[in-house]
């Protein structure tokens, strides 16, 4: 499956590990490009490139303050990913709740045999 160079949604944008590390490095705060360069040990052009992709899909927001630009993670845009994990968790919960029922039935049998 060929990846398109431009990503159009949050899932594609975070499929690249550098961009996940970038999101982790921004965390719940607000940071400048310079701080990200320090935290990640990447070059400024690399950080700027990834920030550009993350901004394009709305995962990262920017605020200009004088001569600084402050970047922060846009929580609601991460929601599709959060929802995916939630849906995976629900699938497993359906299975494992049913497994509870199987185990409850097996237990008395094992105890009397």
């Amino acid at each position: 499956m060929a990846r398109t160079p431009t990503t159009t949604d949050a899932f594609n944008a975070v499929a690249e590990s550098s961009r996940r590390h970038l999101l982790d490095a921004i965390g719940a705060g607000e940071v400048t490009v310079g701080e990200l360069v320090d935290r990640l040990g990447l070059s400024q052009p690399q950080v700027s490139k990834h920030l550009g992709v993350l901004r394009a899909v709305g995962l990262v927001l920017v605020r200009a303050d004088g001569r600084h630009r402050w970047y922060r993670v846009n929580g609601p845009a991460l929601k599709p990913i959060h929802d995916w994990v939630g849906s995976f968790e629900r699938t497993w919960n359906v299975r494992l709740d049913r497994l509870d029922d199987v185990l409850a039935e097996l237990k008395p049998k094992e105890e009397t045999s």
Binding site: A15, D24, G75, R95, V102
Partner: protein
């Protein structure tokens, strides 16, 4: 000891780049959980959905042996998974590969995930963990690409925690 208390208590976390971890406790000894996990007649009762029709449920429980589950879901779609057992330490640990047969690549077998299931019993309660490890980055990325549609595995650092944190903060 009401097993209904544990309903809905499974958790999914993304502990590392290529991993997914599913955790759940059961009010039963490891031996029974292992049995329910590896006996076809029992697997058929919990692994699918209530509406699934079972077409294949084969488990050749030995190292090097294979397993295959195929169900027909509502609407007629057939869903198949298979893999090979790598390590079996009854009743505490099973390592096996898992291939989703509908995976949208030329050779789904090359995109197998490695699943490690552990049953850890303490005072009659068994804690089960399933660690899903994707072998290749491109397959994991393809999983991410197809994640929304197929509900397949995805693995992403600590993004889930971050999403929850930011959701709460919002």
């Amino acid at each position: 000891m009401n097993t209904a208390n544990r309903h809905g208590s499974a958790t999914v976390t993304l502990p590392a780049d290529r991993e997914i971890l599913i955790t759940r406790q059961f009010d039963a000894p490891a031996e029974l959980v292992f049995k329910a996990w590896t006996t076809p007649e029992l697997v058929k009762r919990w692994w699918g959905f209530g509406t699934s029709e079972w077409l294949v449920c084969d488990i050749d429980l030995r190292e090097g042996g294979s397993w295959r589950y195929v169900t027909r879901e509502e609407g007629g779609m057939e869903v198949g998974f298979h893999g090979e057992f790598r390590t079996i330490e009854a009743p505490h640990r099973i390592v096996s590969t898992e291939v989703f047969e509908g995976f949208p690549v030329e050779d789904p077998d090359a995109a197998a995930a490695l699943n490690t299931v552990v049953f850890d019993e303490r005072d009659g309660v068994t804690t089960m963990t399933i660690n899903v490890l994707h072998v290749a980055k491109e397959h994991r990325d393809a999983h991410v690409d197809s994640g929304m549609e197929s509900g397949m595995q995805v693995s992403m650092d600590r993004l889930e925690d971050l999403a929850v944190e930011l959701d709460r903060a919002a």
